[in-house]
Symmetry: C2
Subunit: 585 residues, 2 copies
Amino acid sequence: MYRTKTCGELRVANVGANVTLAGWVQRVRRMGGMTFVDLRDRYGITQLVFNQDKDAILCDKANKLGREFVIQAVGIVGERSNKNVHIPTGDIEIIVSEMLVLNSAATPPFTIEDDTDGGDDLRMKFRYLDLRRQLVRANLELRHRMTAEVRNYLGGEGFIEVETPMLISSTPEGARDFVVPSRMNPGQFYALPQSPQTFKQLLMVSGFDRYFQIVKCFRDEDLRADRQPEFTQIDCEMSFVQQDDVLCMFEGMTKHLFSSLLNIEFSEPFPRMTWADAMKFYGCDKPDIRFGMRIAEVPPELVRGHGFAPFDGAEYVGGICVEGAAGYTRKQIDGLADFVKRPQIGAKGLIYARVEADGSVKSSVDKFYSADILLRIKDLFGARPGDLILILYGDDAMKTRKQLSELRLEMGGQLGLRDKNSFACLWVVDFPLLEWSEADGRYYAMHHPFTSPKPEDIHLLDSDPGAVSANAYDMVINGVEVGGGSIRIHDSDLQQKMFRMLGFSDDQALARFGFLTNAFKYGAPPHGGIAYGLDRFVSLFAGLDSIRDCIAFPKNTSGRDVMIDAPSAIDASQLEELHLSITAK
Amino acid sequence: MYRTKTCGELRVANVGANVTLAGWVQRVRRMGGMTFVDLRDRYGITQLVFNQDKDAILCDKANKLGREFVIQAVGIVGERSNKNVHIPTGDIEIIVSEMLVLNSAATPPFTIEDDTDGGDDLRMKFRYLDLRRQLVRANLELRHRMTAEVRNYLGGEGFIEVETPMLISSTPEGARDFVVPSRMNPGQFYALPQSPQTFKQLLMVSGFDRYFQIVKCFRDEDLRADRQPEFTQIDCEMSFVQQDDVLCMFEGMTKHLFSSLLNIEFSEPFPRMTWADAMKFYGCDKPDIRFGMRIAEVPPELVRGHGFAPFDGAEYVGGICVEGAAGYTRKQIDGLADFVKRPQIGAKGLIYARVEADGSVKSSVDKFYSADILLRIKDLFGARPGDLILILYGDDAMKTRKQLSELRLEMGGQLGLRDKNSFACLWVVDFPLLEWSEADGRYYAMHHPFTSPKPEDIHLLDSDPGAVSANAYDMVINGVEVGGGSIRIHDSDLQQKMFRMLGFSDDQALARFGFLTNAFKYGAPPHGGIAYGLDRFVSLFAGLDSIRDCIAFPKNTSGRDVMIDAPSAIDASQLEELHLSITAK
């Protein structure tokens, strides 16, 4: 070893000890005849001291050290006269007697500090330097601890971690696959898994009973701001369970993570909300319930026929009551109107109503509506003096609800109701099984084709497929969907019916999923599971805005790793071996 | 839950309890008016009892159960009169009062028993049924426990598990890459990692200090019997270490695994052997030291010029002394001669010499050599009465040594010296840095291009590259290389020199590895590491002949998953999106 101690462990109790440290030069300061070097490693920072009077040659050597030089220093631990209370090693320093430069360093392109001067692109290109920053490393340390605690919890509950294959077959349902040409099977391709879904179900057929895996998955999608082509799932499956068993098990895991990683104890069960309620009261299927501000609906007949054209033509009128925001200025409200009218949100206009101190209502539509109607609207929202009511309207209830959801989140943010250090967990349950695509004229599985309908709804599959609820559930924390799952179909006939509903011919279904439906014929147990997006889960715990900051080597929105410059061209001979040619110019 | 207890947990103490079990029907037996059903789950087997007299309808239902039906049974725990001492639940049975068939099962294509009647191909096609067999599941349970204990140990030693990317760049050195076409970057490809080597080195540059990862790696090689295109590594790296630090850390891990998984304690340090000694005395770089039988060399001058042409023309003569094997018959020895002459081994002939009870030597070359010379040979081997000396010869010492290694392993096997339940661990150290390829007229890195030469040999890099030793090491257990690693180069100039020696132009090196050599310029610490092949490591612990048996869903030697039928053709539209066309007919 190049060291006897790390840069994070020496304390006053070690004063007098002879130690050897190794690490990176964070900073060199000269004061009078003294030179102070902050030496950094993963574990902390320790101050090294060189004295010009005592050893001029050594001190000169120290003066020549540059930022990020890698050095080894031998010396005696001394107590500092000028203590630094901000770091655990701030009470001591090393009076250096020997120093060796293990490696020099060019000046880094940005400062290795929490508050760096490096822009995003530069930090990604030199990610290995960005990772030296304590803030970034702390995210990856949290990620490590989270996976360790997930394994502790699930291992303790009898789950077995089983590795499923990465080189599998392409399936047409769902997102686009990344494919891998097979040299040994010319013209054929493997696909990288979008999830180990079918394999974990096969493991249930195999009697593994409780399976989990922390596993890389892949989706070749056009990347939005916070998506990565490769991402990590905590993937779980259990046999002989009903929905409630799965929810209890993973509520337990989540509580364990909050407790062990953040010291936050949740004593109450997580609330459960149906998908229909989530949409009605929050306008989205992943409500942030750190704050109320639920959506209230205004019966169209109440506001129609008073000469206000927007409401006259609306199929849906609804809004939120923002507590204590009556003081919002005209300018602020105009800002909100601009916000909801942005193309990404697409509302037609924003109506507001202030509740005055005397209980009367002052609104942007006063000239159309009597005080009586305005008071009835106030009551619909349960608004009190000092509150601000914000109303949207539209032809389509679901679209308008989604707009209200955006407005609600914006108001929650403006009012400071979305504190990163406070956490509100929620189960959303009873999702619809199928989603109708107007464009394609067919149903799609809302989760995936293996999700079980609720037994009591199976009779509706033929007559009213859109009304069938699924045994599916999402875990939502602070408005983020961290996990989702379902009870699966374990009956081969029902599975076949489901494939038909999703537009697969029997031949297609057999070719793609025959191994699964076949497996179900040999004694499949009832089973269900859940998968968490680890990147998002860690980000949430770390209070990060982007998942990129908890991934060691992320890709940019073009799917490129700018550090290693991947993807890249390959040799002609490689292409030839793979029996491929490139058609792009 | 469909059950209150599992099929593995009920004991006499539970007699009288009302329980619900769920699982698979292993076997149905009728005796008199009773029906006995063995119900199986992951945790064990419990006997269910049905009584024709007490409940004829229920008993009839039980009689109709087929193998592998999935059922739920409610009943009272009773003490068995006829106990089964072979299973932990053998003292009890369930007097069933209610029974529900959760899923029926077609007759499986082979029996779900340790000693199954299913052939290899059938078992792989129906792997989900094969995995129901206790023997196979036990291997995967061991694999789970091994990874858990690896994480316990390394976590306790301050290692952080960091996920490195799966979609990286293709590198020409080493084995063939699997590549992944990038839709968003037409004509460009990602590669799947053969190992996270460069990324773990970058993490050391980033100051992560101690990294590990249990990670899938990929190699597109022509598959030999016991290779898989995707395999799992325990990948580790440490900073500020010398070779001895790495060996101690991972010797500790290995001892921890033996102790926690197999209850085997190794109190002594693992022996260390130089690569040169391994080749000289065992003929291979991964000697099985569960037994001695070391190779001894016969000086050519001792046996030349006596009219025995094979020795006259040989550059190398060497052999092994097989203790107590003088009784081998002529037929047995002919068998050994056939064995070494097989094309896979390629020896020209086998010479033998028996040491008789009186100490005299009787050999296949008696007519060429005097008793005196034969006695001197006997002494060279330290042979004693009753021993059998087996000698090979050839033009090339290394080739002949490898033949002797095969013969030695064969004899160890024949004599029962290679017991699967006994373990001998060994470090092989001081590998050559470079390997000369006669065919290509150039040097190749013996481990990989990042391995550090021994500092004392660096001056030989220009003058005598073949003589340079590497700071590289392998862990060998029972003749299996379970892990290998090295101290890495951390100096960008030395790394550049190494790339040149390996035939990379500076431009090529920059294009392929520029990010790494660049990173070294910003303060790289001395570092080194090791990687274990998890599949092989588990196989060894499980006493398996093939790594396939400890992989849930392995591929065959054509790289195919016969269960899901991967790889497969993909849609023309997928190819088009990827800007690719297939050139194979």
